[in-house]
Amino acid sequence: MAQAPVLPRGFELPLEPRLPRIGSVDAVALEERAASLAKRSIKREAKVFALDLAVRMMDLTTLEGQDTPGKVAALASKAIRPDPGDPSVPSVAAICVYPNLVPTAVQRVEGSSVKVASVATAFPSGQSPLEAKLDEVRWVVEHGADEVDMVIDRGAFLSGRYAKVYDEIVQVKETSGDAHLKVILEVAELGTYDNVRRASLLAMAAGADFIKTSTGKLPGAATLPVTLCMLEAIRDVHEETGRMVGMKPAGGIRQAKQAVQYLVQLHETLGPGWLTPDLYRLGASSLLNDVLMQLRKEKTGTYQSPDYFTVD
């Protein structure tokens, strides 16, 4: 188990002298625990519950250069009614799109419970001037995005300019107003669990509503150990300040089985209080079909084929 560091109430600035010393993560123990949680056996009713919850927590995502309004419209229909043949399957939590497509998405999900999340701040690299980032955030919020997924400036973080990263998040948070702010750490570029923990605490201190593992643009995105590391950071913040911060693993979650493993890990680390779409999201583009196939298998008792589910 990672050693919980001593955290001052509210994480006051200046962070720079303190951040490098906020405790180190025991990588071996972390991976061991993540692996042991992944081996839990989930039996039938619990599995159906978990799959149903996974659908409700899903951020159905399309972040490609080839996205069109038509594709977003199709995605929105699927988000509202994931399985047209089975009305008992709930809507997903949100659809996640590029800023340009926010107006289309907002129009398409109108009247449903599905929210619109938009990536912003020069996704996926985060390498733009702050003014440009803030303009982007302002634009998507004005056009009706309920949630903003921002990326941190990894270049600044890795070179130790923590205050710059912190200030950016604070300003983005101010600019985004009522919209929920998810902060993408892009763990694949952070290198170590220590850095992941540091970045998580920094993002939470700066006011993130959610912390999110990855952009999904790099291989080795969300993994169980790295998600556990972030969940433990969230738990420490909760114990320290009482604030409940959400978590969103994204990238590389493709199978229903993985989704269930993530939920087990969440339940065992943060408890049932976090088992809600308000505090946990699964960012995925291809996961939904597998979850739907598993749900239908549980209901009909026959193994399913991808041919009977929509593409994307």
Binding site: G301, T302, Y303, Q304, S305, D307, Y308
Partner: protein, 265 residues
């Protein structure tokens, strides 16, 4: 010092590998402990078959024929082992001959079953045979080797991937066949061989929505239930003969697709 012979562990053949049953269970057949596949093994086998299907179906027919011929070579080289696991040498020889016969058909099917159709209009109109997809085979009990070969080979020749339930009472010939397949050039997953309780496995195979055709030759009395389950996704159901050798056996696992193509473009 005398040496103890290495005793064979009888396992399944899924995706080109030899896993133990997912459940870890075995049952006794022909005096040996044989892996008893679970429904998850069925699912894994179908997934493996679906995964390699594009590769196998996308090969040239000539190439498929060559690979099947190589299977015959591998069995020929193991004649002695096979003879001890079925009714004897003549059956093995007939099985080898049958594989060679089907191998020869691979690149002749399109000419025999396909056609160029005369249509009124500036179009070419062709009928081409295409593989059905993933074929589930419930292999007959008798003859142990020839029966399995006679049911699996027609599907393979046409470019399908196969998930076969070996005979429950005589599974050893099927396992030996898996060894021959693994050492030939058949891509892993094109043939998957499961041993176990037929009554336990066949319904899962028959109802699996990702299986496109079902050969119920070895199903005996269970056939009506299996066919009903197969009807859910309109599987092709084939009642074969355990000792058949005919190009129509291949045709029963093919779809005839008609394509139009404008002339002069």
């Amino acid at each position: 010092m005398t040496r103890l012979p290495v005793k064979k562990t009888y396992k399944l053949f899924i995706g080109g590998a030899f896993p133990r049953s997912e459940s870890g269970r075995t049952y006794e057949a022909e005096g040996q402990n044989v892996a008893r596949a679970s429904r998850k093994d069925v699912r894994d086998a179908v997934r493996a078959a679906r995964g390699t299907l594009p590769k196998w179906a996308g090969m040239t027919a000539y190439n498929r024929g060559q690979i099947l011929y190589r299977v015959a070579e591998m069995i020929e080289a193991r004649t002695a082992e096979f003879a001890g696991l079925c009714t004897g040498r003549p059956e093995v020889e007939r099985a080898v001959d049958r594989i060679v016969w089907y191998a020869g058909w691979a690149d002749k099917l399109a000419q025999v079953l396909g056609s160029s159709n005369p249509v009124a209009g500036p179009y070419f109109n062709f009928t081409v045979p295409e593989p059905t997809g993933v074929v589930g085979v419930i292999a007959p009990d008798e003859p142990p080797l020839l029966g399995l070969v006679s049911r699996v080979l027609p599907a393979l020749t046409g470019g399908n991937a196969v998930v076969a339930l070996a005979s429950e009472t005589h599974p050893l010939a099927a396992i030996e066949l898996a060894e021959a397949l693994a050492t030939s050039d058949v891509p892993g997953g094109v043939v998957n061989l499961l041993t176990g309780r037929r009554a336990e496995l066949a319904p899962w195979l028959a109802s699996h929505m990702d299986v496109n055709a079902l050969d119920v030759t070895g199903a005996d009395g269970d056939s009506p239930e299996l066919e009903r389950a197969a009807a859910d996704n309109v599987k092709r159901v084939v009642h074969g003969d355990p000792d058949a050798q005919s190009p129509w056996e291949i045709a029963s696992f093919l779809e005839l697709k008609t394509v139009w193509h404008p002339v002069g473009q």
